[in-house]
Amino acid sequence: MRRVPHLAFWISLFVALFLQLVMLPDSIANVRPLWIPLVLAFWALQEPRVPVLLASFLFGIMLDVLFDSVLGQHALACVLSTYIVIKLRGLFILFPLWQSTVALLPVWVIYAFLMFWIDGVAKHQADVWLRWVPVASTTMFWPLVYVVLESHLRRRHRSQE
């Protein structure tokens, strides 16, 4: 039985939080991918033994505080998107990488929609169209995140055997 990679799990999430917060020039700030949901989706798919649902709640709350949005907004979207990925894991796990890239697209759409919807309920009007750009960039970054984290996991497993 392989050990559960708890340390890698939490470190990867904090790296994602860092990437989410690091300052970007204004021109590309709108295109920043949704790093936290990306990394959460990877762990939900690849390693069901880590507490990914709880982590998505905690990191969602952190995002809420750091972005000063309504408390629970990012948490709700993170938990829901993670839950969907865990539920459909049996399906996703059979796909090759490029198919899973496309198959995860609805998850990012749901995430972006929840952001948009809760902002609407909280009377925070924002630009409607630019809001959906991260869906595309997140989709493009999925293969990268997957390959990097997967290679780490594989190396770890090899060293344990």
Partner: protein, 327 residues
Amino acid sequence: MNTLSVDHRDPLFPRGPGLGLRAVALLAICGALIYFDFRTPKLEGVRQTLSWALSPVLWVAALPQAFGDASDYLTSRDQLAEENHQLRDRQLQLEAKLQKFEALEAENRRIRELLASSKNLNESVLIAEIIAANQDPYRHQITLNKGARDRVYRGQALLDATGVMGQIVQVNPTTAVALLITDPDHGIPVEINRTGLQTIALGVGDGQALRLPFLPGNADIRQGDLLVSSALGGRFPAGYPVAQVYEIKHNPGEHFAEALAYPTAKLNQGRQALLVWSEDHSNDDESLVTLPDATAAPAPVPAPAVVPTKDANPAASAAPTAPVRKP
């Protein structure tokens, strides 16, 4: 991707509540949080504690930028940089004082006609460094390195050398968060400098423009008009430049004309901002307030234009009948 091994499967006899139940419980917590945070201010304390606890994360996220600054610092001589810094602060303060004159000139002309007494425009300022900007492109907020310890208060106005930047929305012990005037949640009372017409400027949310949605159809407003802050509402000190009109739209069938304006403050450039203490907050501490001479002032003073905010001392609205604190 299909590297699913045996031990990756769910255990045969899972312990604890099931996945669906856990997800529903967490979603319910999130829903309750959203409801309470939106409806009541009860969660403000929780948010402040969390934001204090997460300040190391912000610090780490600001490191790449800090490294860029550090290399810049090492190449120049320390003393020179220090002196430069002080001079720049000084210049910022002077520029902020200077920018009032354009507005004062127009105001003076109008007030002369009305023969009203002019109000004291002496405000104290403090320079704050901008230490972070909210990285959500739809929330225009910045974090400053001055907080409750420097007597920063909620609702305090924030300026830079060229105009009004925004106002403080959250005060932590050593930092404060300011909402910029371009945020879609922000509205600022303004007056058109040329005519004195009062209106409200709302943020558009694209980070660049302000919107004046409530102009009467026949309002005298032109391209290039300067909008200055008005003291209505009591949040902002009057007379600082806010924005310059660049487009006026008359929508057929609408009751109101709409104008668009660019803020004069450089909102996403620069490192410093000025915090302004207007008169009615300057006596929150024990400093003595100079009140006008009761014999020289006209007997019935009209209600002051500045509405005192809730934590302001009523004596600050400078009514001659108000008790004067002894030194």
